[in-house]
Structure formats: C-alpha cells, structure tokens
Symmetry: none
Subunit: 207 residues, 4 copies
Amino acid sequence: MNNPAKKIESQVKDKGLIETRRMEIVRAAVDLFVRKGFHKTTVREIAREFGMSVGTLYEYIRTKEDILFLVCDYIHASVRERVTPFLEPDTSSSASLKKAIDAYVRIIDEMQDYIVFLYQETKSLSPEDRKYIFGAEVKMTAIFEDILKKGVVAGEFDIPQKDIHLIAHNIMVLGQMWALRRWAVRKKYSLKKYIDLQTGFILSDIT
Amino acid sequence: MNNPAKKIESQVKDKGLIETRRMEIVRAAVDLFVRKGFHKTTVREIAREFGMSVGTLYEYIRTKEDILFLVCDYIHASVRERVTPFLEPDTSSSASLKKAIDAYVRIIDEMQDYIVFLYQETKSLSPEDRKYIFGAEVKMTAIFEDILKKGVVAGEFDIPQKDIHLIAHNIMVLGQMWALRRWAVRKKYSLKKYIDLQTGFILSDIT
Amino acid sequence: MNNPAKKIESQVKDKGLIETRRMEIVRAAVDLFVRKGFHKTTVREIAREFGMSVGTLYEYIRTKEDILFLVCDYIHASVRERVTPFLEPDTSSSASLKKAIDAYVRIIDEMQDYIVFLYQETKSLSPEDRKYIFGAEVKMTAIFEDILKKGVVAGEFDIPQKDIHLIAHNIMVLGQMWALRRWAVRKKYSLKKYIDLQTGFILSDIT
Amino acid sequence: MNNPAKKIESQVKDKGLIETRRMEIVRAAVDLFVRKGFHKTTVREIAREFGMSVGTLYEYIRTKEDILFLVCDYIHASVRERVTPFLEPDTSSSASLKKAIDAYVRIIDEMQDYIVFLYQETKSLSPEDRKYIFGAEVKMTAIFEDILKKGVVAGEFDIPQKDIHLIAHNIMVLGQMWALRRWAVRKKYSLKKYIDLQTGFILSDIT
DNA sequence: AATGAATGAGGGTTCATTCAT
DNA sequence: CATGAATGAACCCTCATTCAT
C-alpha cells in the first residue's frame, strides 16, 4: 500500500515477504485492537489471528508498539487512498468540495471503528511515531485546503486566506465526529442527512 | 461535587468519609492518568500519590476501573460546573450563545489535557459506566440546545427544529477540537482568534 | 550478616523483613546457582525453593542479577567471617600465618562449590557490582598482607616490601586452587597434606 | 590444528570441509564468547560473524554447546601449540624450566581473555566434554612435570617424587593467575617482574 | 551443501487484588 | 478503618533448533 517513512527493523531479509507478512499482521491486529483496545490485546492473540507463531510474528516487528504503528499507518493510508479517487475537479469548486466531503464522510462511516481507534490509541505511540501519524493527518487536511484554495482562486469561495486552514480542519472534524459521536448523532440523522446538513453549514461559511 | 448515579461499592460505612476519600483518590489519579495514561498508571502509584496504602485505597473502590470512572465523572462534572456560571441569559440570544461558547472553549483550553484524556480512555470503561459518561456529555450538549431553542423561540435564530441538535453537537465538537487538534490548530490561531472565527461560523449557520 | 554497600531497591518497607527475606532468598538461590549455574537457574525455581511466590520474591529484589549479587556478596562475607576468628596473633608470625592459611584453606574446602561458583559467575554481574565484589577479594587479600607485614616488622620474615603483595595473592590463589583444581589435586593429596606442602612452599619463600 | 578425540556429528560428509568450516566457526565464536559470554551470545550472531547462514552453521555442529566445546578445545590447543617450541632442553634443567615458564606466562598474557573465558564457561560443557577439556589441562600440566622430573633425575632439583605433581600445578596456576587476577596483580607488577618473582619462588621451592 | 523463515517453549518481570494483622 | 506483604496469572519477548526449498 504505502511505505512508511519509518523503517521498522526485521530479522527477515526478503523485502517482499516483509511487506506481505506485515500486511497480514496489520489485518490480524486491526480488528483485535478495535474490538479490545491495544493494551488488552495480547501479542499471542495477534499471532493466532495472524495464523502464525509468536516467534514468526516477532521476525517482522521489534515490539508490540511497532504493530500499533503499522496499524495506525494502515488506517490513515486507507482513508487517504480511498478518498483520492473522488478528488478530480468537478464542474465547480463547490461541486468538487461536496463530492470530496461526501466521499470522505462515507468512508469514515465505513471505517468508523478504525477512526475511533485512531483517536484513542495514538497516544500509546512513541513520540516519534506519533509525530509521523500526525503528519498523515496533516496531509489529509491539506486535501481540503487545496480544494478551498482553488475555489478562492476561482472566485467561487470567499474566505480570508488565514481562515482556510481552520475550515479544512473543521471539515476533517465534521467527518471524524460522525464516528466519534455516533452514539448521539446517529440517533437523529441518517448518513445522507448528516452529510447534507454539515456540507450546508460549511458552504454557508465560505460563500 | 456531584453524586454519581452509579454506586460504587465500598467496605467503608461512613458516607461522608467515602465522599472525601474518593475526591482525594480522584485528585491523586487524574494527573497520573493524564500524564501516563490509564493502563500505564499502577494502583500502587495512585495509592502513593493518594498518601495512603493500597489496602486503604481498595476500601473505597472495587477495581482500578472504578477509579477511571470516578476520574471521568470528575472531569465532566468540572467542565459543567465551571460553565454554569456563564449561562445566565444576556441581552440577546446571540450574546448568550457567544458568552457560553467563549466560556466553554476557554475552560476546555484550561482543561485540555483532561479533555484529551476523556476521549482516549472512555473506552476502557465498562459498557455501563461508559453509558453514564455519555449521559454527562448529553447533558452538556443540552446546555447549548437550550440556548439555541430559546433563540429560535425569541425569533433571533433561524434553525429548523431538527437541526438544533446537530448544531449543539457542532459546538461541543468545536470546543473539544481545540484540545484534540491542538498540535495543528494552535500553530495558526490564538485562543481568542479561534473562538471568534468558530463563533462566527456557528452564527452564520443559524442567523 | 553484613550490609552490602550497594543498596538494592525493594518494594517492602520493613528493613528487618528485607534483611530476613533476602537471607532466605540467598540461601534458596545459592545451592541452585552452584548446582545449575546462574543462567540455567530460573527465577521461578528460586521462588519455589524460597518457599514463596515469584511476586513475593520480586518484592525484595529488582532483577535476577540482584540475586546473583546478593549471593556473591554472601559467599565472600561468609569466607571472611569464618576466617576472622583464626586471625589472633600467635606465638610467632609464622605460627600466625600457618594458622591463618590452615583455616582459610579448610574453609575453602568446605565451601568449595561456592568458591568455584564465584570464579565462574562474577562476570555476569554488572561492572559496578563486579567492582564491589573485587573489593571484597582485595579485603581478604589484605588479611594475609597484614600478617606478612607484621612478620617482616618482627624480623621473622625476610621479604622485600614490594613482594608482600604478590605473596599474599599467592596465598589467596593457593586456597582457591584447592577448589578450582580439585579434579586434579585431590587425587593425589589429602587436604592436610595439601596445606602442609603449600604452607611449606610459602614459608620457604619468605624466610 | 588438532583433532578432538570427541567426535561431533555433522551432516556434511567431506571431512576436509568440516575441518575448515569448524575452524571458521571457532574463530567467529571465540571473540563473541569472550566479549559477551557464552550464554549471552546467540547462534544467530555467530552465524553472522561466521559469514554464513544459521542453517549452514548447523550443518557442522549439533548444538550450541558443541561450539563451546570447539572453542574451549581450540584455546587449549593454541596454548599448548604455542608453548611447545620453547620446550627444547636447555643448558640446565633450571634454564629449561625458566624458559618454559617464561613462554607459558607470556602466552597467557597474550591470550588472557581466552584463559579467563575458559575458567568461566567450562562448567557449561556437558560432563563428558568437560572431562575432555580437563584432559587437555592435564596434558599441559604434564609438560611441567616432565621438566621437573628431568631436573630431579639430573640431580638439579631436589623434590620428593610426590611433590612434583603439586609444583607442576602451582606453575600452571601461577600462569593463569596472571590472567584471572589481572585486576589486582597488574597494578603492582610488570609482566617481566611478575615472571621473575614467581619463577624465583618456584625455584626456591625445588632447589 | 546452503539457506533463512518458522517454531514455540520458556524466560524475566509486572501488577491488580486480597487478607491477616 | 488502615496497612502492606503476599499472590500468581499473565504479559512481552528471545532464541536454539528445524526443515522445506
């Protein structure tokens, strides 16, 4: 999928195999982590899910926290990867924005457990890894910043240069909110309704 | 401060003493939790900070998770308690709302570590306790719903009945975002600027 | 017995209890270590021998290496303690020396397994602890240096000042040799014969 | 170099190759062992140093302990091999002895780390292997016994038949002491001075 | 003959909780 | 009510050895 900047050491030499196995590890771990939390998931459980022995698991990582990093990175990359196809310019800037927000929130809807997990366990990463993950969040935010900027240039959006950053963050948060506050928001609003309303609010802020 | 609906069992009979001691426990635990996370904080450490023995600590709680619950409850109660004084009706509904948001975000700013903690560790609570904590969040949200409703009744705000709920949540989130995304938002905006901008967006949505 | 300069941290507060328990730990560990070697002895085994749980064991030490240190210290202290009574000045310097060597070698004979162990496992100590243990060896050597010096002062021994140190070491080694090379030396010499011969050699060097 | 009496099984048929490879293994392992100790050195590390895979390594040995045996044997053989050239009879028995001791201690000085290692890790060998290594020590001791016996026969040394054995051991120990007690002895004596003094003591015992 | 990924038993250590005093 | 020593299950991780390729 992607190649984390951070290099995790491995006993195994075959690069391709490392890639494959790590993907398997992530897939095994992510659901366990989401269901039980990072701390309550055992390395043994991951290995079992992974379908291999603990020993083999440790051939591909150094510590349990490496798995957490791999998982966090995977989630972020997945979101970005899945949003990307919906980012081609549309008939108008607001159409582009609408489409992007729509795709983004729908993807979050599908990955809600993962998003919640990300919010909760990022803090268990080492400062260094945490920084890397924040970097991924920044990149994601930049996607919306770009659309907004283009809209301003096109004369379609009316936003002071300085506020663009904040609105991009607001869009990010509005998406995450669908996952983080699902216990409340879902009771009253369907996904479609939620997207419509929130998109409306954003557009009213910038036009 | 407040009396958690949920009754945590205790070996001790004296109700007043229970109250006092639990407050001490919370104060000892909260900083430890915030600094190191729930899982990485040991009961021993809490007892040491608490100034009493582990044995005594366990006279007032049943499990480590009880402490987590107590702490979560305490944080929530603190926010609500500190916001309340700023809720008296002002000259206009929008003035009331502005004042409430301002107070709310400023309090979050002061308690940012606690807010972040809440987001991260609530999941470690038992489903029952988690529900209780969500209830507290609902109550908090209701504060903003009330103000919005009053503004609608007063003819000052123009919001479909159904959207009020969402906007109240948006306000809640805008506050928490100041804590949760501080690593990004703070680089560009001062607290005052942030409040001004976000309040502006909310008002533009409802007037 | 003695109070190691080095303070090993403990979870337990009662100083007396620490002393008692550590003595029990040492006694449990020493035979296991001697029989199986340090690395092949499990902390679990020590605990079982100790008659308590692993948890309890770890209340009194920090790491397995702490046990090794305790054991090494104990062995050294035992030898010194048991030699001391035989160190009162006798009718002549050579009588004193003979008595001291005799006592020393006989004690080594009784503690031979321990002595061999000391030679083999000291290297597993941290540099700091190793230095401490060497210090004990130096003190022991000083006992013989003292006797030799007194004999020189008394005009009974004829040794250049500079050589005293080496002869003291030779005496130390002659004792340890009885333990370290028992597989060879014992086949040919009884303990008494060994002591007589070696004492003779030492005396012929210095008179 | 030499051919251990003990036959270590091997998957490989080619005898010459076995010999060569085992020599490489020893050379790879010996420094690792000396530096980190037997238990703290992993087979993986040895293979890496050896420049081949673990699999290949295991073609030439059965267990990690086989490597230890090979290394111990190698060290012993090295000492004996290097001492041998200095064993031709000299003008007199005491000249021969002096030359032998001098060579022996100098070689120990050069191989001090190895000697210390031998003392510390021999116990990790199987009883059978240990016996073999002791045999090597016996052979080495016999070298000095021979010189002493010749001196007695020549009428140059005056030692009761029975004591020869012990003196030979004393010479062995005096050499090893230079390595084992280097932390103490070296502070006061140069190698040359040490040899002179100790040789003097030995000669005074036997003439 | 050479490789190196796979194995899994077992090691040291931690820590929430209990209970005798 | 208070204490803190005792417990032991459970955790993360290592590493000698094997075996399919």
